[in-house]
Symmetry: C2
DNA sequence: CCATCTTTGTGCACGCGTTCACAAAGACAT
DNA sequence: ATGTCTTTGTGAACGCGTGCACAAAGATGG
């Protein structure tokens, strides 16, 4: 910034709301699609529709980045793509490692959406010696023993954990100790990390559970007989009484894909 | 507009905040782990620590469900597991279909975390005729042509989309038309659905992008990369052009795992 | 050069979610 | 039975995010 930016009002220091940051990738995706179709400019209204958000929200989001639009016209697609990419840090290359090459880990390794946005899978790591050397998605799997060396040699700062829940914390600790400061966690467990390390989690079953909640509500709307006391056992028409309410699968063990 | 459903915001006991609903699976996971260790009761403080949230928040969350705790003691683990399970609708069996059996779809099919919580994979569906009949995770893949029949025969109300982005909307439309009212979308695209249908999305690359944003901030801005004003063309040339599959990744094409 | 029209950028109000702090409730020991 | 101690349940304040509505900015046409 020493060079001084022409378009950057210094008034907006570094206060981009988290909610806005979370939407930037969404805008970027929509903009990239427009860019491919060689659309030169878009209005906030059009772009908002493409991204599935409110246009006022979109404009406010962009206002945090600076004044990149032109009144009466809209936003320049290419320019905005670059600005958002830069803001998100996607103009640089991010080497990532994936730990835990099970079904999910392998799927992630082959996921094109990573490479296409500046994320490079630097290494695949698994604890199973039988997997060592075996290529997955064109990348040879390496053993956990070399984790620290791999992290350091490749300058990795972002790690993806796709191991069983039982070993996730342990893997996390090693990653952090080796220098990783951002972790994407697919294991169904709460990771504790020191200050300065970011963790984002993706739990596949949680999403389904939230859907089930709403689904149940939809189905049980007409049940409005009399309210009052909560009948403990009335669980709607349980299609299969079998479904043992007692399925303490835990969150721990073999439930993980890795 | 199409109000349709009888929304009940006035009902005091039935108005569970969305943010609370999203945390219930988290509590359930922690409680199940305690249950397996035969822990009879927990305090809000302990459980909050295990779930990675604030104890006051946890207590308020539970207060929306009812008064299930005992002052001076805490919460009965088994009882709470049941109450939350019931509230989430997990005491019944939810048949789900997974559409798009690529790497990710296959990983989801084998994901133990589904079955363990009342979600039963009723069918796997793919558009590739070559996959028809071939078993994945022990379940034979069926062809897209039979989608409607499968949905109806199994009474499926929850669908998982793991297809390429290009066909996701189309698959979504067919699912909805066939009776599905909840959709978990892994395709990197915005789905539009009629009122009454819930959609939750999981975008793997978005999570990484958010991490990259914070990571970049940690590293500091002294990176003398490009400056604000740049010719649009060179914008994302850096790490993006690689994708090789198809032009600049977009969100559309082969970037999907399926 | 001026009028008109389009679209951005934002001040403002509202509602949701989070957090604090504490009174009420109940267990437990004496 | 009574006092003490622990922990819940919640009232209230606060902060963030969202959406409205509009003035300012700039393009466009005459």
């Amino acid at each position: 910034m020493a060079t001084g930016r022409t378009h950057r009002p210094a008034t907006r220091s570094r206060g981009i709301p988290e909610a806005t940051v979370a939407r930037l990738p969404l805008y970027l995706r929509a903009l990239t699609a427009l860019s491919e179709r060689s659309v030169p400019t878009v209005s906030s209204e059009e772009l908002a529709a493409a991204a599935g958000v409110n246009s006022a929200k979109l404009r406010k989001d962009f206002s945090y980045l600076g004044s990149y639009g032109t009144r009466g016209v809209g936003y320049d697609v290419e320019y905005l793509v670059y600005q958002i990419s830069r803001e998100l840090g996607l103009t640089q290359d991010w080497p990532v490692v994936i730990v835990g090459i099970g079904n999910l880990g392998a799927a992630l390794a082959g996921y094109g959406g990573f490479a296409s946005r500046g994320f490079r899978v630097a290494a695949l790591i698994d604890a199973d010696p039988a997997m060592a050397g075996k290529p997955v998605a064109g990348i040879p799997v390496q053993h956990t023993d070399d984790l620290e060396k791999i992290i350091k040699d490749n300058g990795v700062s972002i790690g993806v954990i796709a191991t069983p829940a039982g070993v996730a914390q342990q893997v996390c600790d090693r990653l952090v100790a080796a220098g990783v400061t951002s972790i994407l966690n697919f294991a169904p467990t709460v990771l504790s990390v020191p200050d300065g390390v970011d963790v984002r989690k993706v739990d596949l079953s949680i999403e389904l559970q939230i859907l089930a909640f709403h689904e149940q509500r939809k189905a049980g709307e007409e049940t409005a007989a009399g309210d009052g006391a909560l009948p403990a056992a009335t669980a709607r028409g349980v299609a299969a009484g079998d479904s043992a309410d007692q399925g303490p699968d835990g969150d721990v063990p073999a439930v993980m894909p890795a």
